[in-house]
């Protein structure tokens, strides 16, 4: 045990008592927060360049005759003209803040009423887009009013829906989204009129009802019934996601240096010197212990900072105290599991490049929870969420998410996942120790996955 502690102490000091550790501590929240702050910074400087748009409206002939049959008059505005009016309304009302400053680009629509559009005309307009003369052009035809068309979105298919949007890489542009909405609204109105319904009445009837989200009602310490708290987006999505990302970052911040440390010992032949002084299993255990201590230090620093911020922002009540012990235990087991696997990779590799190759198959297993976390937040008691919670590399991340979202995780699941995690960690440490014992002496040859399997089985 003495040797294990000596190695653990060295590993801990080598990781913590460095400038890079402090820089990493400071950078991690910056990087994580950057994801949230950057879009805001970008929207703070909106694109204000006017978008010139050509709308070819070939829908008029049949629509007009249709309208005549319904209303018996010729007073209906062409669809393209309505879009022009909607764009003007947007330019004057929707993209100006309270102080009168523009918050978005103006849309200037050049309306062309045509019988039909030829390919030559489409090419001409495409060239105008290429030369930046216009931003896009839109094509409307008679099929917009054909109710037999099974379209959900009028612009998804030019040949099928009667509306098409042409732009240079504009599939996801705001302009296209605006036309999606505007054309839908205008056409819907026409269709309602065609059906003899008052669009205003229908709009009233279609007004959505917002369902307010609450948590569960529970008894307080005095035996009274405590009202359920409102579940806002912060506690429903961002808090679980933030905690999961924090856990993920803590695991990787600890496991990655373990790999690098082993690789350094192997490349600099320190491993050769250590072999005469310590058994490989003691060596690896000491390094794992050092990693765990390092992650606890990181956690303590971040937790302390988070508490200060929560107190300052008056979020004290939002702190999920019940989850804190689980978080710590899952984190410790996670660090042990991840670090042991990373150490095994470091011991088997001869260079950083080797380590990257060996990490690839491992990453698929370790990153699995990152692909499903949103499904787990949406339905924390689904079969997928419960099943994956018993998969040790995913347990710490998904269980924290589930515990944050749902207060009714059965006890058997909490204990069961913990036992699965313990078992999984034990298996990983055992396998990693066997790879470590052989790999640390192996020089010049990177083992294949099959060889690694043989090392694990035969020892």
């Amino acid at each position: 045990m003495g040797k294990v502690l000596v190695v653990a102490r060295r590993e801990y000091l080598a990781a913590v008592a460095t400038r890079s550790f402090l820089i990493g501590l400071a950078l991690m929240p910056v990087l994580m927060g950057g994801g949230a702050v950057l879009p805001r910074l970008l929207t703070a400087r909106p694109d204000l360049e006017t978008k010139r748009i050509v709308v070819f409206d070939a829908s008029e002939t049949s629509r007009q005759s249709e309208a005549n049959e319904i209303d018996g008059n010729n007073q209906l505005e062409p669809l393209g003209r309505i879009l022009q009016q909607m764009a003007e309304h947007r330019n004057q009302r929707e993209i100006v803040d309270e102080s009168g400053r523009p918050t978005g680009p103006r849309y200037e629509i050049d309306l062309r009423l045509v019988e039909h559009l030829t390919d030559a005309l489409r090419l001409e307009q495409s060239d105008r887009i290429r030369s930046k003369e216009i931003f896009c052009f839109v094509e409307l035809d008679t099929r917009l009013f054909d109710l037999s068309q099974p379209s959900a979105s009028p612009t998804t298919d030019r040949t099928g829906t009667g509306a098409a949007f042409y732009a240079d890489g504009g599939a996801l542009s705001d302009v296209r989204r605006w036309f999606d909405r505007a054309i839908s609204d205008a056409v819907r109105e026409r269709r309602l009129q065609a059906a003899g319904l008052n669009p205003e009445v229908v709009q009233q009837a279609n007004r959505p009802v917002a369902v307010e989200g609450f948590g569960l009602v529970e008894r307080d310490r005095d035996g009274g019934i405590r009202k359920a708290e409102t579940v806002d987006r912060l506690s429903a999505i961002f808090l679980p996601m933030g905690l999961m990302l924090a856990m993920f970052a803590l695991l990787w911040m600890t496991a990655q240096p373990s790999l690098e440390s082993i690789l350094e010992e192997k490349q600099l032949r320190i491993s050769e010197v250590l072999l005469g002084s310590i058994q490989p299993i003691q060596w690896m255990t000491g390094k794992l212990l050092g990693s765990v201590l390092c992650s606890l230090t990181t956690l303590a620093i971040y937790a302390g900072a988070a508490l200060v911020v929560a107190w300052y922002l008056d979020y004290w009540e939002k702190i999920p105290w019940k989850i804190v012990p689980w978080f710590v235990v899952y984190q410790l087991l996670g660090v042990t599991l991840y670090s042991s696997l990373f150490m095994a990779v470091g011991a088997a590799a001869n260079s950083t490049k080797d380590a990257q190759s060996l990490m690839m198959p491992l990453l698929i297993f370790l990153l699995l929870p990152m692909f499903v976390w949103f499904n787990v937040i949406r339905d924390p008691d689904s079969g997928l969420a419960v099943g994956l919670s018993f998969y040790p590399p995913a347990t710490p991340l998904l269980m924290i998410v589930r515990m944050m979202v749902s207060s009714s995780i059965p006890v058997w699941q909490s204990i069961g996942t913990m036992l699965a995690m313990l078992l999984g960690t034990g298996v990983c440490v055992f396998a990693a120790a066997r790879i470590f014992r052989i790999g640390i002496l192996s020089q010049g040859h990177t083992p294949s996955l099959r060889e690694l399997g043989r090392w694990i089985v035969s020892g």
């Binding site: 190695v7 060295r10 600099l268 320190i270 050769e272 010197v273 072999l275 005469g276 002084s277 310590i278």
Partner: protein, 311 residues
């Protein structure tokens, strides 16, 4: 008492036989040289003594035990390929190895060794700031700091300048005088010749020579003549009784045929031209090494004509 005993030890890696039926005995309190060319099985043998590898066959007995643990605290080990944590300070890295071995009197010993190796003023410097020679000194101190009973040094003199070589040599001799058993592998025959009480030569995994140094040299007899003369190598080779020449530059070593008459060779040399130096002696360890390695090579690879010039 024997500190190490190897009996009929074999070890292979895949199809390659690294150590083949090796017997070796190392007595306590002596310096034992382990000699052999690269790839001859020295490091594999050392790793079996350290219990890093188990033998495929045979017995490896260390301190009287056949089944010991890896990293015995009574053994100090300086590997051939060695490194240190670059970011650690000199004092801390030595203390780390002392602590790993459970040394109780490390602080005083660290100070003594640092002073002895003129590193006292570098104690708080990072390892990465040291020259190669200084780093080698730190590595040596790390191996001996816990006062092991058996010290295993794998090529301890490689890359050392003459001053540091003397420093290491004196340190090893002092450790021996303090009762430590030392096993070191080396290519440097002159060092082995100066320091070792006994030697073992291993070639292609098999022991080809073993025993106290004097006995080994006696075994090869007084068959070497060192001369300084104006004759060419071809003229010397034509002398009756001379089998091979080792050209050392100013001096040349003539190896005599078995049963050749020294007096006759001396007479012929004097008659052939001016003779400045004539000395009859045992072959050096280097010469013995070359003879064995060369003989093995000749048997296996390059059938050479009898007679020739080395050097």
């Amino acid at each position: 008492m024997n500190v190490i005993e190897l009996h009929d030890v074999c070890r292979s890696f895949g199809a390659r036989l690294a150590v083949d039926r090796l017997d070796l005995t190392i007595a306590a309190g002596r310096i034992h040289g382990f000699i052999g060319p690269n790839g001859s099985g020295k490091t594999t043998t050392i790793r079996m003594i350290l219990r890093v590898f188990a033998p495929d066959r045979g017995q490896v007995i260390v301190f009287g035990k056949e089944h010991g643990e890896v990293a015995d605290d009574r053994i100090g080990y300086l590997p051939e390929e060695r490194g240190l944590y670059k970011k650690m300070r000199v004092h801390d890295v030595i203390k780390f190895f002392a602590d790993l071995k459970g040394s109780r009197h490390s602080q005083a010993d660290i100070d003594d060794w640092l002073r002895r190796f003129s590193l006292a003023d570098r104690a708080n410097h990072r390892v990465e700031s040291l020259s190669k020679g200084m780093a080698q000194k730190v590595q040596f101190i790390a191996a001996v700091i816990a006062r092991p009973e058996l010290l295993i040094l794998d090529e301890p003199f490689s890359g050392l300048d003459p001053v540091n070589r003397e420093l290491f040599k004196d340190a090893i001799l002092d450790l021996k005088r303090g009762g430590m058993t030392v096993l070191f592998s080396t290519h440097d025959m002159s060092v082995a010749e100066q320091m070792c009480d006994s030697i073992c030569m291993i070639h292609r995994g098999r022991k080809v020579l073993d025993g106290p140094l004097d006995e080994v040299r006696r075994q090869y007899g007084e068959d070497t003549i060192r001369v300084r003369t104006g004759l060419t190598n071809s003229e010397l080779l034509r002398l009756d009784g001379v089998m091979r020449i080792n050209d050392l530059g100013r001096m040349r070593e003539l190896r005599m045929r078995q049963g050749a008459d020294v007096q006759s060779i001396l007479r012929n040399l004097v008659q052939a031209g001016p003779l400045e130096h004539f000395e009859l002696g045992h072959p050096t360890l280097h010469d013995i090494f070359l003879r064995i390695a060369g003989d093995t090579c000749a048997q296996n690879e390059c059938a050479q004509n009898e007679g020739g010039v080395d050097g």
